[in-house]
Amino acid sequence: MEEYEKIKQVWQEQSITQPSEQDFRNLKDRIALVAAKQKIGNIVLLVTAGILVYFFYHIGAIAMTKVALALAAMIGVLLLRVAVELFSIHTLKKISAALDFTSFNSKLAAYYKKRIGVHFILTPIALLIYCYSFWTLLPSFKMSLSEGFYQYISVSSLVILVVLGILIFTQAYKELRILKGLKSDV
């Protein structure tokens, strides 16, 4: 235990500079930034939803039953996935960091278990519905759009799908790693 007392002494000899006025101002700026980011995030999502609904009516999809259904399914799964994401962020934020370590860890583990369900069940179903709906829309696009624009939509949608897939996989992998870390924290 003599060695440990030496370690403790070394630990307490660490020099820590007292925070300056500027440090405190920087902290207040960061607090303001966190609040602003939340507001901006909500505004962006609301605007996106608005644009999608506007687009739906603007192209007159409501008059074409098949197109309307396909578009509504695409917009619907997109909005559902965004809503799930928002709910998840809200749930995570609600887990108080002021809880004791054990309770905090078990709440986090429960949260990440649910997230894995979202990644491996809900997201693939949403992606399948989205892709199927898009596929049913292709003949209408071919009829009403120019050849060039049709090609652009077909290729870009594939690219978007691949990018989206990579993003979803990365996020799922990251959250699985966190869950594994939480389980081993004993």
């Binding site: 370690i7 630990w11 405190f24 902290l27 960091a97 002021a98 004791d100 370590f101 905090f104």
Partner: protein
């Protein structure tokens, strides 16, 4: 300035030093990362301040937030700093001191980094001089369990610093 703002500034100034030391422990001595962690801890303190009812001591409350926030943040990092990695900036602020001191700091951080996150949290608070009872409150564990763990970690840490392995 309202009451909450004033209270926050007092808490920040009174607790900055101990939160910084704790965060450095988690960050394996990386001063830049530790500074960032400290900011994140105090952002959480600000967010939780209005809900703080004073059921526990302010220091226990701060340590809970600091331990949870630092571990959460480091879990999200791609490369976990808990693998015994030590950053180059480790002793940046101690450059003026003797190389022996630097070596001591380096070895200490390396050995702490080798511990599991629970053991690391416990020993960091012990090094800070918290009572076992207070550590038990922060960790949500029984006093007896903390006592046993501390004894074991002290031996582990001493062995590592002396012989270089946990």
């Amino acid at each position: 300035m309202n009451d909450l703002n004033q209270q926050f500034e007092v808490i920040y100034r009174d607790n900055y030093e101990k939160v910084m030391r704790l965060c450095r422990g988690y960050a394996s001595g990386d001063a830049v990362l530790a500074h960032d962690l400290v900011q994140e801890v105090f952002v959480k303190v600000w967010e939780s301040l209005a809900k703080f009812k004073g059921n526990s001591q302010v220091s226990t409350w701060i340590y809970r937030i600091a331990v949870n926030t630092c571990l959460m943040r480091l879990r999200k990092k791609k490369r976990y700093l808990f693998q015994g990695e030590l950053q180059n900036e480790v002793v940046a602020e101690n450059e003026g001191q003797s190389s022996i001191k630097e070596q001591q700091f380096k070895k200490m951080y390396q050995c702490i980094a080798k511990l599991s996150s629970t053991n690391k949290s416990i020993i960091l608070m012990e090094l800070e001089g918290l009572s076992q009872k207070e550590i038990a409150h922060v960790m949500g564990m029984k006093h007896e369990a903390i006592r046993t763990r501390i004894h074991r970690i002290k031996i582990q840490l001493s062995k590592c610093v002396t012989h270089g392995g946990v």
